[in-house]
Symmetry: C2
Subunit: 405 residues, 2 copies
DNA sequence: TAATTTAATTAATAAAGCGAACAAAAGGCG
DNA sequence: CGCCTTTTGTTCGCTTTATTAATTAAATTA
């Protein structure tokens, strides 16, 4: 059994602090008395804690609200620009960097190409270098207000130790990202798997804002996912939870990159689309695709297939539709296992959602066990390409706003 | 967002109370100073709360422990016989009843046949009658010590309202079990799905005792499951979580009772075994089975197949092995999605575990993504046939020992 | 038997929420 | 315009409960 947190005065206050802080954050603007009503804290407690938060510069009083027949309420808001966070999203080919305030509003961004073939040491060196360069470009006044660095990373990440345990496409193992960055920058660093970061980002700033139970799929070249249960990110026992890409949807399906047969990833990932397109082209069954590639001089990719589908190519549409059907099966299994309120589609593939949502929804509503399961909302992320990056920032934010802080 | 619990003195104390109570429960016997060390509560706090617990008769001082070079510690234990609980397990054909103490030790049990064709009202009437009869048979002194009734029930159950929303095989919908029993017996009643109850039972009294993340399969005529994450039962958004039986393992598989194709339940449930056996017998490919049925004059069943397998019948063994392989796929999907530390096999099929565990483990270790996932322990429940019943009792217990109480 | 060690309790202290009363600021109404 | 009512927010004394330090209790050991 894990070590439990005991009830203490500090703990009690810390809990109330985070309740108030989150109430302000979620509402954008809210008065003290509204907070008291909503959270069931007493007015004096709210007053006291808010006073501390204002002193700490985390909260500011804004304009008075409209009266309800008595004294006007004083609206409180998060002092968004009092602190800043650096977010880093380590992808397969590139690293994105962003500077945001407490509302995760990006005020500066960079994208760096990730050199291939780096070993663990080289990778860390590169990471430190680009973060350092990025930080130096930030104006002095803001630089001092940076309170932490959040890193979203492809592969398996132990979020407690901040070690990237296994990043297959980068061919890296056990990289102590947190330790290295904390030492270099003397700032708290949080590291998380990119799909899980995305899910957290959706919980705080995306379509998952009001959801307590949801699953967020990250469909790009591969397929990952992040699960939120009771408002909390689920890591499982070894930080492996969420690997929906390698759940089996058809035992006799094609071989997946992981060596198994019939994984969802082998049907519906960007790579799977690419493979399927190539196959059809070789068989001479995808004239439009062949033409498009000759025109644009680009290699086959999920994006190209999507573009052809937009332009009306039936073959491309069928490829996407089939991918959607299998995604539907994977999502269905998910629904039956953990019964989320919402499924969020994120990652590169979310662009193609107009072709995917229909088959997914059809499969789910046809096969879900109960009416309630059929009603599981399936939506597309609105955070776009920067979703994981926003999630990375949120890793730091969530600690600032959390109970433990 | 759900209503949060605020930090308050009561809350703080209630939390510490539950921490201490659980520490005593888990250790069986433990001294005050050990509790303080383990829980990081201060000695006076432990003393104070323990004093209250003793006053409430929940805890007793037992014999002194062995000295560690100074004064002997006074060992504390849960006063097991200070309170009793009635557990009810509503199955498809029968209802089990049990009376237990705080250690979930059964001191009285009954099994009643469940009449078929009851409607909602008739079902409740029957339930009230058998519980009433059972209660009257309990000796007076113990009867007064009953603190609640826990009900485990087949089908979809809303555990907050205590309504059995959907019980397909009983053909019942929206049965207000909690309300009805609470009114009749003036005792707190908790109702839960049987597989989830089983999982809770395993967490408290079974092999899941020291596990924070596990999944408990209940394989009987159908296949259900209960998920424990961070020590807590997971219900999902509509109490539907855990339905592993209807996750798809092979799109082109046989038709399931739910109408879909390729559900795990259509491969590995007791019913699936039965069906498969019948199929082989009709094709004349299962001589041993045919003989056994003629001998025993009983209809084909999972149990018979198991018995034949024990007696060395290759056909029966193959049936079980195949069921195991598909179970392995289902479990694999589970592992990749939520990464539990342990998988517990419970329900009727757990008897046949000697034939099932091998293929399950083979599939998991062959196909799991990472070494850590391969190491997921797969074990058999030790609670046996009464697992869900113990779980039902635990529903009440967990509230007595919990923070909210 | 005295010294030491560990266990448990007591007493004084302090943290922080709570309830009641109070102040501040509106709006409503005569 | 001025008084009353309502809503918002604060102040103050009280209460709960954990914490620290000192104390008592009961062993072991030298």
């Amino acid at each position: 059994m894990s070590i439990q947190k005991t009830g203490s005065f500090q703990g009690m206050k810390s809990l109330n602090r985070s309740i108030i802080l989150n109430s302000i954050r979620v509402h954008g603007m809210i008065s003290r008395s509204e907070i008291a009503k909503e959270t069931r804290l007493t007015p004096p407690t709210v007053t006291n804690i808010v006073a501390e938060l204002i002193l700490a510069n985390l909260v500011v009083e804004r304009r008075p609200g409209t009266s309800n027949g008595g004294r006007k309420p004083i609206l409180l808001a998060i002092n968004a620009d009092s602190r800043f966070i650096i977010g880093v999203d380590v992808g397969v080919k590139k690293v994105r960097l962003a500077l945001t305030n407490l509302n995760a509003e990006v005020s500066m961004r960079r994208t760096e190409e990730l050199p291939s073939g780096l070993n663990e040491g080289g990778f860390l060196l590169f990471l430190k270098e680009i973060v350092s360069k990025f930080k130096q470009e930030i104006e002095k006044g803001v630089q001092e207000k940076i309170i932490g660095i959040g890193v979203a990373m492809h592969g398996i990440v132990d979020h407690t130790s901040g070690i990237a345990i296994h990043a297959p496409t980068l061919k890296l193992e056990n990289v102590p990202v947190k330790e290295a960055l904390e030492e270099t920058f003397s700032l708290p660093v949080r590291v998380e798997n990119d799909a899980k970061a995305l899910a957290l980002g959706e919980k705080w700033f995306g379509v998952g804002k009001d959801m307590d139970h949801f699953f967020c799929l990250n469909v790009g070249e591969g397929i990952g996912g992040g699960l939120v249960q009771s408002g909390q990110l689920v890591h499982g026992n070894d930080s492996l939870a969420g690997e929906i890409g390698h759940t089996v949807v058809d035992l006799r399906g094609p071989v997946c990159s992981c060596g198994n047969r019939g994984c969802l990833e082998a049907f519906s990932s960007g790579n799977a689309l690419k493979f399927k397109g190539k196959q059809l082209m070789n068989a001479g069954k995808a004239p439009k695709l062949t033409e498009k590639l000759r025109e644009t001089l680009s290699p086959i990719s999920g994006k190209i297939i999507y573009e052809c589908a937009v332009e009306g190519d039936t073959v491309s549409r069928e490829i996407l539709e089939e991918a959607g059907e299998y995604l539907g099966i994977g999502i269905l299994n998910l629904i039956h296992l953990i019964n989320p309120q919402m499924i969020i589609l994120g990652g590169g593939v979310s662009q193609a959602s107009n072709f995917l949502l229909k088959p997914i929804n059809e499969v789910v509503s046809a096969r879900a066990l109960s009416d309630r399961a059929k009603k599981t909302e399936i939506v597309v992320s609105k955070l776009g390409e920067e979703g994981s990056l926003i999630g990375a920032v949120t890793l730091v934010l969530s600690e600032l706003f959390s109970h433990e802080y």
